[in-house]
């Protein structure tokens, strides 16, 4: 290759790169832009990349149906690289520079907290698809994942009523979601008459890989003659070595079941699940749910991603619901203007994948069924219990004294995310 050729090919390459970045601005007015704010590199890429793909699929499908308001949708993908401050920068870039109509994104609670001020300041819309700790309701954010009462509390009820559990290990990764969830669960368990010495709380660092001592402790704690269960808010990567250690030390689900809130089909994909059969997870969706809507969704996903072995999971369903809600709210309002959409989206009800309808409530949380599933040998979950109806997401927990009197209602005239019913004023504070 001569020097000249090399130069031209480099120029062509950079032109192609520039084009791929410029696609957003080139078509300008005839499309509606949708921002996707998920980490594609760094530690959280493991979970968030799938959500980016799911969003691209939903947008492609919507365009096949003719787009929204007669315009095609256009995805603007940015990579905040699992770096929390970068989330805020990228969110600003999406709203200010790319002028997106709505943003679908974030996974960890820290990333959500870091973008909140940006969305508030620039009046953007964020759809947040992951189960979280609650204690928050913001005008510009729609929480399509589960609040603690849509996941943690029903799971504990199931263990108490069906498995007869009397002793509890609350094990979590050391950050805001597990800490707040465990605070709520501890208060809830004590309100149900569980003695403090029957609750063991344990925190581990992110990516903890040596679980020998903790699993041995759980084993000891569980052999005190009372039925014991582990409630796990262990995050992402640390789960694989945790479950491997459980299996190796011979803790079977029949003896000490583990119910997890962060382990879904995607996390199990990296594991030999044969020794884990019977351990539980609580979600609002499982890939194994047998409905026509779900079968259609899975087929579309496999066709889009081109790989039959890829699984679907709960946050994907949350994006499916959130995206359809946004589409319907925009159609209803006749515009993508954030204020109009915020007004029109409350009360919007769209089909979910588990055979019912989910509705957006005035507190910007949605209604969902709660499912408890047991891990099967093929890495899927089998539903062993579900709520009879839909559960409304409760942003301010009823089990924490500080947040009990608070409610959120974003409809006029209240339009407040933390209204204190005791003082009659907007601006209460729950648990940080």
């Amino acid at each position: 290759m001569t020097g000249h050729h090399r130069k031209t090919s480099v120029a062509a390459l950079s032109a192609a790169l520039a084009m791929s970045f410029a696609v957003g601005t080139a078509k300008a007015e005839d499309t509606i832009k949708v921002g996707i704010l998920h980490s594609l590199s760094g530690t959280m890429a493991i979970s968030e990349t799938t959500l980016k793909d799911a969003m691209l699929m939903l947008i492609e499908e919507q365009n096949k149906k003719g787009g929204v308001l007669g315009k095609k949708l256009e995805a603007v993908v940015v990579d905040p690289a699992s770096d929390w401050p970068l989330f805020a920068e990228k969110a600003r870039e999406l709203i200010e520079k790319d002028k997106v109509a709505a943003v679908f994104g974030c996974w960890t609670s820290v990333s959500r907290k870091s973008v909140l001020p940006v969305f508030e300041e620039l009046n953007g819309l964020l759809f947040y698809p992951v189960q979280y700790e609650g204690e928050e309701s913001q005008r510009n954010v729609f929480y399509t994942g589960a609040a603690p009462n849509q996941q943690a509390v029903p799971a504990v009820d199931y263990l108490m009523d069906v498995e007869g559990v009397e002793r509890w290990v609350l094990a979590g990764t050391d950050y805001v979601y597990p800490r707040t969830t465990n605070k709520i669960l501890e208060a809830y368990l004590q309100s149900k008459g569980v003695a403090p010495e029957d609750i063991m709380i344990n925190y581990t660092p992110f990516g903890h890989s040596d679980w020998q001592t903790i699993v041995a402790d759980i084993k000891t704690f569980g052999s005190a003659g009372k039925k014991t269960a582990v409630v796990s808010t262990i995050n992402g990567d640390a789960n694989v070595p945790f479950y491997k250690e459980l299996a190796n030390q011979g803790i079977k689900a029949e003896d000490i079941p583990v119910v997890a809130f962060s382990v879904g089909e995607e996390e199990l994909a990296g594991l030999d699940t044969a020794p884990l059969v019977g351990h539980l997870a609580a979600w609002n969706y499982f890939q194994s749910v047998d409905t026509d809507a779900n079968a259609e969704f899975i087929d579309a996903w496999h066709a889009f991603i081109g790989d039959e072995s890829r699984v679907t999971n709960d946050p994907m369903e949350a994006h499916f619901i959130g995206f359809n809600m946004w589409v319907e709210a925009v159609e209803k309002a006749g515009t993508t203007d954030p204020d109009a959409v915020i007004d029109s989206i409350v009360g919007v009800s769209v089909p979910n994948l588990t055979g019912g309808y989910s509705a957006m409530m005035p507190n910007h949380h949605i209604t969902k069924p709660v499912l408890i599933g047991e891990i099967q040998e093929d890495g899927q979950f089998e539903v062993v219990w579900e709520t009879s109806g839909l559960v409304v997401g409760d942003e301010w927990s009823d089990y924490l004294p500080d947040s009990r009197p608070l409610i959120a209602d974003w409809r006029a005239p209240m339009s407040c995310g933390n209204f204190n019913t005791e003082t009659g004023k907007c601006g209460g504070k729950g648990v940080d």
């Binding site: 530690t43 990516g207 040596d210 020998q212 990567d237 250690e245 994909a269 990296g270």
Partner: protein, 538 residues
């Protein structure tokens, strides 16, 4: 419903001991086929109880299949079969005779659902049937289950089985099961007193919880006796807890040693701050994944050998990448530690993202060969096979490296170059080549570590990040430039960490270890085993 468990258990034991079989009014097949009508877990539970009550050993495979999720109903005629195989068509097997019946599409069958409660019931039922089993090992297992879940109603059955027992080991197990059951029964105090002594002799956590439970209802002399027994068991338990901590520490230390030993060469011996060291470990783990994938698709019988095959390949792959890294980047940066640090950190990001692009961002499944799964017990110490093999592997790698460094001509050249580069060059040693080979060796060893770590950690692009800080910590603590320092440093940190963890928790424990190292380095900047002499000054 909750009572069904222990009751069926007792009935099953009695029936199985009496040798009752096929005498029930309802034929077995009819009961088995009634699974098709069960609408919920409670109804399935009733049928399991009914099967257990027949006392017929023929139901054991049916129950086992049900527990494992292999019992299916054929939708067309509501017949129940055991299925095997994966995929769209399954082989169906007659549940009672065990004969192959034919094949059936997956959609034509529906699985009989089980939950934890059912699995527990099935385990107890099978356990009850096994107390009369001809296999002594099965009888012993049944007796052990009875110690963990003592039940007064099974006492007559245990005593009947004990009379017939000929194997002394099984008889001892049954004696203990009997003692455990007596403690929860209404037997007279004299028998209970004997039982306390027998249970205290078991000295396990199960025994302790049994005694603690009994303490509440004991009075007078019995209370004193049980208090003494509890104190004794607790003392025994504390010794075992100590031994367990030492073992966990050794095992964590060996993981640290494996992760750090490659760095002990590239950083310790060559002085290159290699931030991409963790990624070499990750590459080793991905080589294991690729080897297993190929074996799974083309030669499944080789699976137990997959790690042995992956070891040389991981060494060569990571070594080759290390060689390229040294030739392509690092050799231009010798003597400029800051630039080396930044460049290798950039390389680590590139390698991570490359792996993410090729293999996807999600975890990859690396299976354990059968000989590495499970655990065994020494006294009350549970030792998992994978940890034991990793400890042995770490020691072997260390020994081989020590040999290479001290007893081979390559090792001699390597030491010569690091101690006095110009003199070595004057003696005719090709120093650039030695540099490249040394770096490749360090990287290759990191690849070996990756194969071992794939057994206990996530195989994801982030695998290496978790080990890089720990590795530097070990090398700096142990003393730069000394393999023995790395060895002692890794094991010390592992054991210290495991002794701190129960008191301080995992998060604080790690912080305390870090603080300790910082203070230690203040006192001894060259680490545990400091190199002395002119080499240090160079």
């Amino acid at each position: 419903m909750r009572l069904a468990g222990p009751l069926t258990f007792a009935v099953a034991i009695i029936l199985s001991l009496a040798g009752v079989a096929h005498s029930q009014e309802k034929p077995l097949r009819e009961i088995v086929n009634s699974f098709a009508e069960a609408r919920n877990f409670n109804q399935t539970e009733e049928i399991v109880a009914e099967l257990g009550a027949t006392g017929d050993p023929a139901v054991v495979p049916v129950l086992r299949a049900l527990s494992e999720g292999d019992l299916h109903v054929r939708k067309s005629d509501n017949q129940v079969f055991i299925v095997s195989g994966r995929g769209k068509t399954l082989t169906i097997i007659d549940p009672l005779t065990g004969e192959m019946v034919g094949e059936e599409g997956k959609r034509a069958l529906s699985k009989i659902r089980v939950n934890n409660g059912l699995r527990r019931l099935i385990r107890d039922t099978i356990g009850g049937l096994a107390l009369g089993s001809p296999d002594p090992a099965a009888r012993l297992r049944a007796a052990r289950t009875l110690i963990s879940n003592p039940d007064a109603s099974s006492l007559p059955a245990i005593e009947a089985a004990l009379e017939k027992e000929t194997d002394p080991e099984v008889a001892a197990g049954m004696m203990r099961a009997r003692a455990a059951a007596i403690l929860v029964s209404e037997r007279p105090d004299a028998e209970k007193s004997e039982a306390i002594t027998a249970v205290a002799a078991i000295s396990t956590q199960d025994a302790l919880s049994l005694l603690l439970g009994f303490r509440g209802q004991a009075t007078g002399e019995l209370r004193e006796q049980v208090d003494r027994a509890i104190a004794r068991v607790e003392r025994v338990q504390s010794y075992w807890a100590m031994a367990q901590n030492v073992w966990y520490g050794l095992s964590l230390g060996s993981v640290l040693l494996l992760a750090a030993i490659g760095l002990a060469i590239t950083f310790g011996v060559m002085g290159v701050i290699n931030m991409a060291h963790g990624e070499m470990v990750m590459i080793g783990a991905y080589v294991t994944f690729v080897v297993q994938e190929i074996i799974r698709t083309s030669a499944p019988w080789l699976f137990d050998w997959s790690l042995a095959i992956a070891l040389p390949l991981a060494f060569l792959t990571a070594g080759a990448i290390g060689y390229a890294l040294e030739r392509g980047i690092i050799r231009f940066l010798y003597g400029r530690p800051l630039e080396t640090l930044l460049a290798t950190w950039g390389v680590s990001l590139i390698l991570q993202q490359a792996v993410r692009t090729i293999f996807g961002p999600t975890n990859r499944e690396v299976g354990s060969p059968s000989w590495m799964s499970g655990a065994f017990e020494i006294g009350q110490l549970t030792i998992t096979w994978n940890r034991l093999y990793i400890v042995l592997f770490a020691l072997a790698v260390f020994a081989v490296l020590l040999f290479v460094l001290n007893r081979t001509s390559f090792g001699l050249q390597m030491r010569a170059v690091t101690q006095n580069r110009r003199m070595a060059a004057a003696m005719g040693i090709r120093t650039p080549r030695v540099d490249a080979m040394t770096f490749a060796l360090g990287s290759g060893v990191a690849g070996l570590a990756g194969v071992a770590l794939s057994q206990i950690d996530n195989v994801s692009p982030n695998l290496g990040q978790g080990y890089i800080i720990d590795s530097f910590m070990v090398v700096v603590f142990g003393g730069v430039g000394n393999l023995w320092g790395t060895f002692v440093g890794a094991l010390t940190l592992g054991i210290a960490n495991k002794f701190l963890e129960p008191y301080a928790g995992a998060v604080l424990g790690k912080i305390l270890v870090l603080v300790f190292i910082i203070l230690f380095i203040q006192k001894r900047p060259r680490g545990l085993f400091a190199l002395k002499g002119r080499a240090v000054e160079a």
